[in-house]
C-alpha cells in the first residue's frame, strides 16, 4: 500500500518536485497578479486620455456634450497668435521632412558601416546616442547662432528639421540597429555580390527591404518625436503645434480646442501605430 501511495504522490508531482496542486494555485496567483498590474497601469494611462477626450467634447454648459472644439481645430485663432491650422501644417511638414532626412542619412550609413567599416560601428553608435545625453537647452545654446542666421535670412520655420533630425537620431538608430541585427547582413550581401550585385544594389534591393519593419518603427518614433516637440521650437522662437497649444492654454479661455487638438494628434499617432502593426503582421504572416 505504501508503494502505491508513493507512486500516486510521485505522479502528482511536477518534474521540479512540487505537487501539481501547488503549481496550479501558484499559476492562478501569478495570473491574478498580472491582471491587477495590467488593470492599474491601464487605468493610469487611459483615465487621463479619456478625461482629455471628455473635456474636448464639453459643451458650453457644464456636463453637456458638443463637437465644437473638434470643429474648431482647423480654424481656431487665439488673440495675438497665428492660426492653429498653420502650426498643424508646419508640424506635419516638419515631421515628414525629418522622417525622410533621418532615413536617407541613417539607413544607408548604418548598412554601409555594418557591411564595410565595422570598426566604425562603436563610434557611430556613440555619436547617434549622444543627443540623448545633451539637455535641450545646451542644444539650443549651441544651435542658437545658426538659427539666428537662418532667421536673419528669413528662411522658413521648416529649417527646424535639422535639429529634429539630431534629436531623432538615438531613437531611429536603435530601431534600425535592432532591424539590422535581426538579419544575416553579411551572408545576404555576399550572396548578392556573388550574383553580380553592386554595393548600391546590395544596400537598397537586398538589405533595406528586409529592414522594412525596423524602418517603419524608426519612422514612427521620429514622427512622434516631432509631433510632441516643444522645448527646442519654443526656445528658438518658432511656433509649432505644441508651442501653439501652450500659447492657447495661456492666452485664451477656450480650453476645448486645446484638448481636441491634443486628442487628434494622439489619435493620429494611434492610427499610425495600428497601420505599422498591421504591416508587420502581414509580413510575418508569410512565414
Amino acid at each position: 500500500m505504501a508503494a502505491v501511495t508513493g507512486l500516486t504522490e510521485a505522479l502528482a508531482r511536477t518534474p521540479g518536485g512540487r505537487p501539481a496542486g501547488m503549481q496550479v494555485r501558484r499559476r492562478r496567483r501569478l495570473n491574478a497578479f498580472r491582471y491587477v498590474v495590467f488593470a492599474v497601469f491601464g487605468l493610469f494611462f487611459v483615465v487621463p486620455l479619456l478625461a482629455m477626450v471628455r473635456f474636448s467634447l464639453e459643451g458650453t454648459k457644464l456636463g453637456t456634450w458638443s463637437l465644437t472644439a473638434w470643429r474648431q481645430i482647423a480654424s481656431y485663432q487665439g488673440s495675438g497668435i497665428p492660426p492653429l491650422s498653420s502650426a498643424i501644417e508646419l508640424t506635419l511638414e516638419l515631421a515628414v521632412i525629418t522622417c525622410v532626412v533621418t532615413m536617407v542619412i541613417l539607413v544607408p550609413t548604418m548598412i554601409w558601416v555594418r557591411l564595410r567599416v565595422q570598426w566604425l560601428a562603436r563610434t557611430m553608435e556613440f555619436l547617434c546616442l549622444l543627443p540623448l545625453t545633451i539637455p535641450a537647452i545646451v542644444l539650443v545654446v549651441g544651435l542658437g547662432p545658426i538659427y539666428n542666421k537662418i532667421q536673419h535670412y528669413e528662411l522658413s520655420a521648416l529649417m527646424l528639421f535639422w535639429v529634429y533630425v539630431i534629436l531623432a537620431l538615438p531613437y531611429a538608430y536603435r530601431a534600425l540597429s535592432a532591424g539590422l541585427s535581426a538579419i544575416d547582413v553579411t551572408t545576404l550581401s555576399e550572396a548578392a555580390r556573388s550574383l553580380g550585385a553592386s554595393w548600391f544594389t546590395v544596400m537598397f534591393r537586398v538589405i533595406a527591404p528586409n529592414m522594412r519593419q525596423a524602418i517603419l518603427n524608426a519612422l514612427l518614433l521620429t514622427w512622434a518625436l516631432v509631433l510632441g516637440e516643444y522645448t527646442i521650437a519654443y526656445l528658438l522662437l518658432y511656433s509649432n503645434l505644441q508651442v501653439e497649444l501652450y500659447s492657447i492654454s495661456r492666452n485664451t479661455p477656450n480650453a476645448g480646442v486645446l484638448f481636441s487638438t491634443s486628442s487628434a494628434a494622439l489619435l493620429f499617432a494611434f492610427v499610425l501605430l495600428l497601420i505599422l502593426s498591421f504591416v508587420g503582421r502581414r509580413r510575418r504572416g508569410r512565414g
Binding site: T187, A191, A192, R193, S194, N210, R286
Partner: protein, 375 residues
C-alpha cells in the same frame, strides 16, 4: 577523377567548363597564417572537395576564389584569365553558402531570377530560366513561396538553383549541407553531384565532413594549417594517405606500437608493408584501419599478442564496430553486423591484421594522435 568536360548548361547556351588555377595563394589574419602559398588546380568540369579541421584554410581558399576576400599574395586564373583583383560581383561564380542565404523578401522564383535581373535579362526569359533551374532541383511547384515557407533542405536547393541560373563559370559550395539533418543531407549531397555532372561545371566544395567529401568529389584535398597535405581521388586519400595526418584525419585508425625495419613495420608479431618505404628504422606507431582487422571467436585461445576480449560492439547499421581489449591496449575492428552479432561483449577472439600498406604516425606516443595535437 572524371575527365575534363565540355557541357551545355540546362536550358542555356553552350558553355565550356573552365580550368581554375590558384598559385602561391596566401592570406594572413594578423599574425595567423590562414593560407600559406597554396597551389591548387581544378580541371574543367571537375569537383574538388576541400576537407580539413577547423581553421585549416579551406573556407579561406573558397572565399579568395569567390572574391569575398583579398589574397595577400598569389594569383587566381580562370580559363587563363587573371581574376585576382577582380571584384566578387564581376567574377562570374555561383556560390552556395553554409548559412541560409535566400533573400527573405523575395519569392523562390524571384530569388532564382535575381542574378538574371542584374544582367538585364528580359522578364519572360528570366521567368523561363528560373523555372528551368527550379525544375532541375525539383522545386518548380514551390516557385511562389517565400524562403520562410520552405524547409532548410529546400532553401539550399533553391540557393543552388539561384547560383546556377546565372550560368557561372565556377560553382562554389561552402559547407552547404552542414545545417541540414542527416537524411536530407545525404539526399541533397547526391543531388548536388547529379546536377554538377549534368551541368558539367567546375566546382569547389568545402566541407569538414569526410563522408561527404569522399562520396561527392572527383578529387579530395585534405588541408592542414593553410596548406594541402594531399590532393587525390577519394580512394587514394583513404587507402593510400600521403601523410600520417591524412591517415588519422580521414577515417578511423588504430594506433599500434611497432618497430620499423627495412620498409616494413612489425606490429604485435605481424609484419605489415609501409606506404612510405623510406621511413627510418626504429620504434613507431602504425596506423591500422579497423576494416583491416578481422576477428574470429576462439574461446580456447591462449594468451598472445593478437588474442583479446571483446569489450564493446557499436551498431552502425549494416556494419558494426567491435572494440577488443588486448591487455596492454585496445583495438577496433569493423565487421558486418552479421559477423559482429556472434561476438558479444566478453567473447575471447583471435585477431588477424590484413597486410595492407600502412603509415606510421607523426606522433610517437600511441595515445596521442597527430590530428589531436593539431587541433
Amino acid at each position: 577523377m572524371t575527365s575534363p568536360v565540355t557541357k551545355t548548361t540546362t536550358g542555356g547556351a553552350a558553355r565550356t567548363s573552365v580550368e581554375v588555377r590558384m598559385e602561391g595563394l596566401s592570406r594572413h589574419y594578423g599574425s595567423v597564417v590562414a593560407l600559406d602559398r597554396l597551389d591548387l588546380t581544378l580541371q574543367p568540369g571537375e569537383l574538388i572537395a576541400l576537407l580539413g579541421p577547423s581553421g585549416c584554410g579551406k573556407t579561406t581558399t573558397l572565399r579568395l576564389l569567390a572574391g569575398l576576400e583579398d589574397a595577400d599574395a598569389g594569383h587566381i586564373t580562370v580559363d587563363g584569365k587573371d581574376i585576382t583583383r577582380v571584384s566578387a560581383a564581376k567574377r562570374d561564380m555561383g556560390m552556395v553558402f553554409q548559412a541560409y542565404s535566400l533573400f527573405p523578401h523575395m519569392t523562390v522564383r524571384q530569388n532564382v531570377a535575381f542574378g538574371l535581373r542584374l544582367r538585364r535579362v528580359s522578364s519572360a526569359a528570366r521567368d523561363k530560366r528560373a523555372l528551368e533551374m527550379l525544375d532541375l532541383v525539383g522545386l518548380s511547384t514551390q516557385a511562389d513561396r517565400y524562403p520562410t515557407q520552405i524547409s532548410g533542405g529546400q532553401q539550399q536547393r533553391v540557393a543552388l538553383a539561384r547560383a546556377l541560373a546565372i550560368e557561372p563559370q565556377v560553382l562554389l559550395l561552402d559547407e552547404p549541407l552542414s545545417a541540414l539533418d542527416a537524411k536530407v543531407r545525404a539526399q541533397l549531397r547526391d543531388e548536388i553531384r547529379r546536377i554538377q555532372l549534368e551541368v558539367g561545371i567546375t566546382t569547389l566544395f568545402v566541407t569538414h565532413d569526410q563522408e561527404e567529401a569522399l562520396a561527392i568529389a572527383d578529387r579530395v584535398g585534405v588541408m592542414r594549417a593553410g596548406h594541402l597535405e594531399q590532393l587525390a581521388p577519394p580512394t587514394d586519400v583513404y587507402s593510400r594517405p600521403a601523410t600520417s595526418f591524412v591517415a588519422e584525419f580521414v577515417g578511423l585508425s588504430n594506433r599500434l606500437a611497432g618497430e620499423v625495419r627495412n620498409g616494413e613495420v612489425t606490429v604485435r608479431g605481424r609484419t605489415l608493408p609501409l606506404v612510405d618505404r623510406s621511413t627510418p628504422d626504429g620504434p613507431a606507431v602504425a596506423l591500422v584501419r579497423p576494416e583491416a582487422v578481422t576477428l574470429a571467436s576462439d574461446s580456447a585461445a591462449e594468451s598472445g599478442p593478437l588474442v583479446g576480449t571483446v569489450i564493446a560492439v557499436t551498431f552502425l547499421g549494416a556494419m558494426s564496430r567491435v572494440t577488443v581489449d588486448l591487455g596492454d591496449t585496445s583495438i577496433m575492428a569493423q565487421l558486418t553486423t552479421a559477423d559482429a552479432s556472434v561476438l558479444p561483449a566478453g567473447s575471447r577472439v583471435q585477431l588477424t591484421i590484413r597486410p595492407d600498406p600502412v603509415l606510421v604516425s607523426a606522433s610517437s606516443d600511441p595515445d596521442v594522435p597527430a590530428v589531436e595535437e593539431e587541433v
